[in-house]
Amino acid sequence: MQELSLNVNGRPVHTSVDVRMLLVQLLRDDLRLTGTHVGCDTSQCGACTVHVDGEAVKSCAVLAVQVEGCNVLTIEGVAVHEVLHPMQEAFREHHGLQCGFCTPGMILAGMDIVRRRGHQLDEHTVRAELEGNLCRCTGYHNIVKAIIAGAQAMGSPASVAAE
């Protein structure tokens, strides 16, 4: 077992883990943050996408011990109290989900696209950037619309002021 300290959604976590434990297992099984999903478990589908120190990673392809000292953000930490994050709100508004299984990963991937590509996104860019996130309902059309709208909303004065 290995001692492990990190921050998850802004809260410090001190725990002891088997060195083989994946980050997604730590989040789901130990911390009971089950919003992060396991789809393929082979780092193809992106359902397990979370942020580590502000950047999207596939938590099924990272060992828990590798994130010692890091800040991890999961879907549970995206909203501020009861107010949805602009990217979540855009998914609701544009019906960017059907069964919802891929949605947590899509939202965290969407936020990472904004970090890297800015607030003014076009469809081509979003589709290319989403190559690592699969939706088995094939609901990409509305997902892409939601991310474009969410990106804009994240750059609006009200959203910037809230952060």
């Binding site: 290995q2 088997d18 060195v19 083989r20 994946l22 478990d41 082979t42 780092s43 193809q44 992106g46 996408t49 950047e55 999207a56 990673v57 596939k58 392809a61 990272v62 060992l63 011990v65 590798q66 010692e68 991937a109 990472d112 696209i113 890297r116 950037e129 190559e131 690592g132 996130n133």
Partner: protein, 266 residues
């Protein structure tokens, strides 16, 4: 996953000591291949030595006429580096085609080349751009580094520190990705500088290789027409559920011609 002892040394010396002391140890860089391999129980190292805390292994700089990329530099760093985009744009192009954005936020150049997957992108970049691999012990030319399938010239107790690329010339990388895995079904890196180099990944049974016949033809006449009639042998290419050897040989030719066409147009 079989269990292992996890180490996270904060100096290179400590990492080397641990590596030397444990014959069955493996180095962990970004983990984007190794962790999947461990999960499938295709590897069972006694010790895992995480290189993440060793200072000085991550970063990009221009040193004279060389671009130096630290071994722990992630694909996203290379893809988005202004320095790389200006000094050696083809390298940023290669990095941007690896995996997907989340994978590129973790995967590293050192990890990729030390693994030498026959369908990976960086081996083609290193071989095509005549890179030098710098380790804690020596400097290895790319021509001598990629030995075979998942095999390199690295000794068991050797650690890649950086990859150096010469500046100058023009390069282009064309890749036909497998739509599911995004690994190359065939990829061609063509470079035109003092001479011409053509490196093919994704296709060869022994991993990345130089297509010398194409290089010779292009050295005389750098044009798509110069490649007419040149074909790789399907017998020496990978054949699997994704495509036959003949298909990959054909694809490698197409990718090479596209890369040449792009350099000619630029």
């Amino acid at each position: 996953m079989f269990t292992f002892n996890y180490h996270r040394p904060d100096t290179l010396a400590l990492a080397l000591d641990t590596l030397t002391a444990n014959e069955e140890a493996k180095l962990l860089a970004g983990g984007q291949t190794l962790i999947a391999t461990l999960k499938q129980r295709l590897a069972s190292p006694s010790d895992l030595i995480d290189l993440a805390s060793i200072p000085g292994l991550r970063g990009i700089e221009v040193n004279g006429d060389r671009l130096v990329v630290g071994a722990m530099t992630r694909h996203a760093d290379v893809e988005n580096s202004t320095l790389v985009r200006e000094a050696l744009p083809v390298l940023a192009e290669v990095a941007a085609l690896i995996g997907d954005p989340a994978v590129r936020n973790r995967g590293t150049i050192g990890g990729s080349i030390a693994n030498n997957d026959p369908s990976a992108d960086y081996p083609a970049a290193c071989l095509g751009l005549n890179a030098t691999i710098v380790t804690d012990q020596r400097r290895i030319e790319a021509d001598d580094f990629f030995v075979g399938l998942f095999e390199t010239a690295l000794a068991a107790d050797e650690i890649v520190l950086a990859v150096e690329f010469s500046l100058g010339g023009q390069g282009a990388y064309e890749k036909f990705p497998n739509p599911a895995s995004r690994f190359a079904m065939a990829g061609a890196l063509v470079w035109r500088g003092d001479g011409v180099r053509v490196a093919i990944t994704g296709a060869g049974q022994d991993g990345v290789f130089r297509w010398t016949e194409a290089e010779e033809a292009l050295a005389g006449d750098f044009s798509v027409a110069a490649l007419e009639g040149l074909e790789l042998s399907g017998d020496e290419m990978i054949g699997d559920i994704h495509g036959s050897g003949a298909y990959r040989a054909h694809l490698a030719g197409v990718m090479t011609r596209r890369a040449v066409a792009r350099i000619v147009r630029s």
